[in-house]
Symmetry: C2
């Protein structure tokens, strides 16, 4: 549970984090030298000048400007709403993993279930323009790991991020949870199309941001967001990434912080596998299954979770409908890449009149999947 603020404490922390011209490094120096924010703001200009430029010291020794007061009021109003939290560096609920950063946020805005922060976390990140297959991989890994009690951390972006959050949410009945670290203020959602997803995460997981309310999505916020994704997690899995991409920055930061880096391999002809292959060459662990990650992070296995959290992951196959033996040879001719009905007819040698019933049976048995574009794809064995 978060620390219960006095109004003065809260206003002090908010002002310190919102003070115009004050960057995080001198802010932390002030905390170290002068104590909690309310003490900093009770200090004289002379005292503050020992740590800050004179004009900034004078500004901080005075009353906050009108815009600053408005911003503080906006945050305190925001905090009134159900599920909203503000975690400061002094708060016992502040995630200790972030203290591995040289510049941990002074405070975090949070919306949702703070218990998520107590779980072992794995980040799943990757390309915004991910392939369907990459998104399916992200969903599968996230679902399996979330069902085992891991919290899936990602950045609420399109593509792999979105799929990872969805996979973890889908495993909700097994205790799955997910944290989205936002590159905007908590009152905005980027991309806007992810409003429903953000709402679902707030209800079942946790939204986090270090950015003041009202902060819009600007390119330079995303690398800062990525450092939180990396720091919060015991490992980072990169599912699909181009050779130059934000996901590789997240992976590099994770490596620098001593986190494990995992990457999914793919075709040498797929531009979105290049980044993963580069990571593997640099020492990232090549993974084919969620179990590979569990094996590697075994020492970090979740503990103290409710029994439901260690139930088996949602199986893609429906064991009530086992595959009839005579369909096995047909299944063997179906690719892991999407196939059209025409291709399926050629591959399987079935008649067009036979195909729909066979496909239905294969789908019921969880062996293939009907894609939105009408094609079919074999699911992993």
């Amino acid at each position: 549970m978060p620390h219960h603020f006095t109004s003065e404490e809260l206003r002090g922390w908010l002002r310190l984090s919102l003070e115009p011209g004050l960057t995080p490094a001198p802010a932390r120096q002030l905390l170290a030298a002068l104590g909690l924010p309310q003490h900093i703001y009770q200090s004289s200009t002379a005292t503050l000048t020992r740590h800050l430029p004179a004009d900034l010291a004078a500004q901080m020794a005075g009353e906050p400007s009108d815009p600053l007061q408005a911003a503080i009021a906006q945050a305190t109003d925001w905090l009134e709403q159900a599920g909203h939290h503000i975690l400061t560096l002094a708060d016992p609920a502040y995630p200790a993993a972030l203290l591995d950063l040289h510049d941990p946020p002074l405070l975090l805005y949070a919306n949702g279930d703070l218990d998520c922060l107590g779980r072992p976390a794995l980040a799943i990140v990757g390309a915004r323009n991910a392939t369907q297959s990459g998104q399916e991989t992200a969903r599968d890994f996230a679902g399996t790991l979330a069902a085992q009690g891991w919290c899936i951390v990602s950045g609420l972006a399109a593509g792999i991020d979105q799929a990872a959050h969805h996979g973890a949410l889908r495993a909700g009945q097994q205790g799955g949870s997910t944290i989205a670290i936002m590159g905007t203020g908590m009152d905005l959602v980027y991309p806007a199309a992810h409003r429903a997803l953000a709402h679902q995460i707030a209800g079942q997981g946790l939204l986090l941001s270090e950015l003041p309310l009202g902060t819009r999505a600007l390119p330079h916020h995303f690398p800062r967001r990525n450092r939180l994704v990396a720091a919060l997690s015991k490992g980072v899995l990169v599912v699909e990434a181009a050779r130059q991409s934000g996901s590789l920055i997240t992976a590099r930061l994770a490596g620098e912080l001593g986190r494990e880096v995992f990457a999914i391999p793919g075709s040498i002809h797929s531009p979105l596998s290049r980044g993963c292959h580069a990571l593997i060459r640099q020492g990232a662990k090549l993974v084919e299954s969620a179990q590979d990650i569990l094996d590697e992070l075994g020492g970090a296995a979740p503990s103290g979770l409710p029994p439901c959290a260690i139930s088996p992951p949602p199986a893609p196959t429906n064991t009530d409908n086992p595959l009839p033996e005579e369909l096995r040879p047909i299944l063997e001719r179906i690719d892991f890449a999407p196939l059209s009905a025409d291709q399926l007819l050629r591959r399987t040698g079935l008649l067009a009149t036979e195909l729909p019933a066979v496909l239905a049976e294969l789908e019921l048995a969880g062996c293939i999947e009907a894609l939105p574009d009408g094609r079919f794809q074999r699911l992993k064995p």
Copy 2:
């Protein structure tokens, strides 16, 4: 050039390699203790008994049996034919790389151009039931490396082996060459469907076998053959391999011999990528292009080759037909996986009447490939 044998020398080596009951290790001990085979066969039973069981010593001190005489005569007859060679451990042309083995063959049957043995060699191996995409990869890598003066070593098997030999032969005008190490006697070809390929390799490269003429394909010959593939090469590239497969044995032997091991990654859903992924996890180098291999084996770059051998590899794109700029967005919508005409219409938004001309233009520019099954696939950029 091979050593010019006296008839007595040749008969001695052949008898030593064919002597019933004599395995290679004691044969090498005899060579070390008593000198060349003709000296071994001039030794008394008493002398031979110091190194061999009494019955084998007596057999070797006597005249060869009729079947043994027939086998020796068969080999000397075989050697008469154009392009046929026998290389013994005492021969300057015997490939020194094989001496890294604890059990180098006493002699090798060779058919073709012995100059191939003087080139730096790279083995390309993999699954017999390789995918079309895997075979294309093997052909591409073999062609590029052969055109740079490397000799491509493989095992004449179906799938990846066959594709690797073909790729190297296709680069013949750039000086490309290939060595097939056979798991049968030199007078047989396994699989029989590869007779024409073996013939082409004998004409443009080199066939090698340590097995006596007439030796049929038996399962236990293939691991022995694989050790020669590994030993002869500076590195082994595994293109597609199941988790339990002969290719992994070749890779393991290569690693034990201090050769580089390279592996091509692929989809985590493809059973034929499992072996490659396992190798990468064990330390094999993940490669996406032939250049990755050249970068790694740079120190072993070919030297003293004719100028044609360092000409650039055959380019898949035809620079006489550059891609018109307006087709670029259409190309971007075409997958690296095969697509049917229906899928192409959906993806590109073109009319059915427009598609053929566009596809023809893309194919001319070397951007896509028409597959035998009527589908189209994008070629690597």
